[in-house]
Symmetry: C2
Subunit: 369 residues, 2 copies
């Protein structure tokens, strides 16, 4: 498998310029710059037009850009020359007339500095031009995402097989991160959430000092990051103590909601329609008050990318998109259940990329009494 084709990515982006009403674009979003150039550092922008392709960076990155980015000009500034000046210089030299900027990434301060320094071109707000390209993963990206899933799934296997009642949430987080690295990950794809009992009811809690033995439920939301920067994102709940009827009901409801939503994933489906499939199952079971977040999201170089699956998302699924499906029910002070898998939209429907067992019986972990 050959690597990413940055030239083709930049060509596709250039073809969006006419509709956006621009003849050049200043790309400042870090993952967008990486997607379009291969550069893995930060604080660097890409100026892109038909006639000029320039990376704006500083001397920390001179050699790294030479190694990582081919076919691009480079403007290296020193500590005395702000980014806005470097940008104004390239705009003037390249004779841009209508310069797009990324409104979702540029801060108000950065925009003001550009506005003050760029006189020869009009600044035009754009949103999501590169992000929309990134929604559709190419073949190489899919191999990277599959690798990130492999690393995450091997990692959780180690956690599960080494689980003990006397481990803390933090112990489990560190075991998981080390295990994913032993399978080739550079690290976690995001800070893993490891929540015992009530902590699992906080959808974004930090792993702390609760012991596995302190509650019968354990929630883990984790993923890996590959060397190429691609991520995976899963959630599983483990039952580590006496099963109650409520636990089983909540778990089965979430799983049913997730499976209904996954079944609805195909090209042409709207994100809000898929979200509604899950939300309806949870509402019918009387738990709608306890599911406040969106159903899922795209991921890749970032852990949260376009598309978003939520009740207000009009986005339409297309082949090549990869999304999480992760409904949850959170009972404050008790426990939370979320089940999350990674789904590829195919030409005819979908493929579930993740394969950690998800039935209730699979979730039960037995310790010596």
């Amino acid at each position: 498998m050959s690597g990413p084709n940055y030239i083709s990515r930049r060509s596709r982006l250039l073809r969006t310029f006419k509709n956006a009403g621009i003849d050049a674009l200043l790309i400042s979003g870090e993952s967008n710059v990486r997607y379009l150039t291969g550069f893995t550092g930060d604080s660097s922008w890409l100026y892109l037009s038909k006639t000029a392709k320039v990376v704006l960076s500083d001397s920390r990155y001179t050699t790294q850009i030479a190694n990582e980015c081919s076919g691009l000009d480079v403007d290296i500034r020193d500590a005395r020359r702000p980014m806005s000046v470097a940008a104004a210089d390239v705009v003037k030299k390249a004779k841009a007339r209508r310069l797009g900027f990324e409104a979702d990434h540029l801060t108000v301060t950065q925009h003001s500095a550009l506005h003050a320094r760029i006189e020869s071109a009009e600044l035009v707000s754009t949103s999501g031009l590169t992000e929309r390209l990134r929604e559709i993963k190419d073949k190489w990206e899919l191999t990277q995402i599959r690798e990130a899933i492999y690393q995450a799934e091997r990692g959780i296997g180690v956690v599960r097989s080494s689980l003990r009642p006397d481990q803390t949430e933090r112990d489990i987080r560190y075991t998981l991160e080390a295990a994913m690295r032993s399978f080739g990950a550079t690290g976690p794809g995001f800070e893993p959430i490891v929540g015992v009992g009530p902590t699992g009811a906080l959808p974004h809690a930090h792993a702390g000092d609760l012991l596995v033995s302190e509650s019968p439920m354990l929630l883990i939301d984790w993923g890996a990051e590959t060397r190429s920067g691609y991520r995976s994102d899963l959630t599983r709940v483990f039952v580590t103590g006496r099963v109650t009827k409520q636990m089983r009901t909540v778990y089965e409801t979430v799983l049913k909601a997730q499976q209904k939503a996954i079944a609805a994933i195909k090209p042409g489906a709207t994100c809000k329609a898929v979200d509604a499939m899950a939300r309806k199952v949870i509402a019918n079971a009387g738990f709608d008050k306890f599911f406040g977040h969106g159903l899922g999201h795209g991921f890749g170089l970032d852990i949260h990318e376009s598309v978003r699956m939520s009740p207000i998302s009009e986005q339409v699924l297309e082949p090549g998109m990869v999304v999480t499906v992760e409904p949850g029910i959170y009972l404050p002070g008790k426990f939370g259940v979320r089940i999350e898998d990674d789904i590829l939209v195919t030409n005819t429907g979908h493929e579930v990329l993740t394969s950690v067992p998800r039935e209730f019986d699979d979730a039960v972990v037995e310790f010596l009494a």
Copy 2:
């Protein structure tokens, strides 16, 4: 030692409103929100005025905010209600007239959404109001930074004592991160830079597959993050092979530059004057072309904070500031030397908080021949 006094922090921020020409402020910078409230999640904003203190968040964080933030009202929105609507509602209810926003954190898109939804108040651009408070660390913060330094220094001790010629940069990075965690860190304060030989000449390289044995020089730039979110930031170079005259000259030049700069740190000194002390030593030795970045930066909840020590920084040092001093000389294709310590500005001068040995002879690591 009691914990942070959030009420006092918010009071000090409120006292800056008059000068800034605002009667309320919308704080969207994640670390600023944490500094002012104790909240450790993301995607949440703080509305602050004399009469109203409201955290704007979503249902993922309902319980976490209740646990972490006392003395604040909370507005929890669901997936159907964008942040800009929640903000407009609180502005209207609290009757703000001139609403400040953080221009360094708000994106152009977020600003446009607020502008479209908020009719009753004028939006006023502000910059660095909370960041300026954060420049001066209080007693509790200093204990946290000292703890982060302890974790980092114990960690590098483990790395040094276990260093082998057959380790890769990546092996060393993972050993370091695990060691810092064993001393209480939640993880690294930033992605550790571990660079063998030529990789050390890239000031911000990723740890890769080079072996220690492949070059006589090894650069490590690392720090820890405490459970409370505070960080440390150090750099050391190890000499792992045959010493050349050039290596020694470059090392001694960087060290001399660093020591001259540290000696100049005291209340009232300008950042550019301190930067100039180091830059002059490096220029006099003929290496000015090979030192392109600023001399150092403040740190705390973020790894890069105000103040910035660079040739163009007019900022003035004050007691309670904590900054890095990290000059470097980078010889492309050969090696880089950077020596970085963490310095507290005291009432009468400064205190070097870090204590890993930094003389050239200390840097030499002997392996069995």
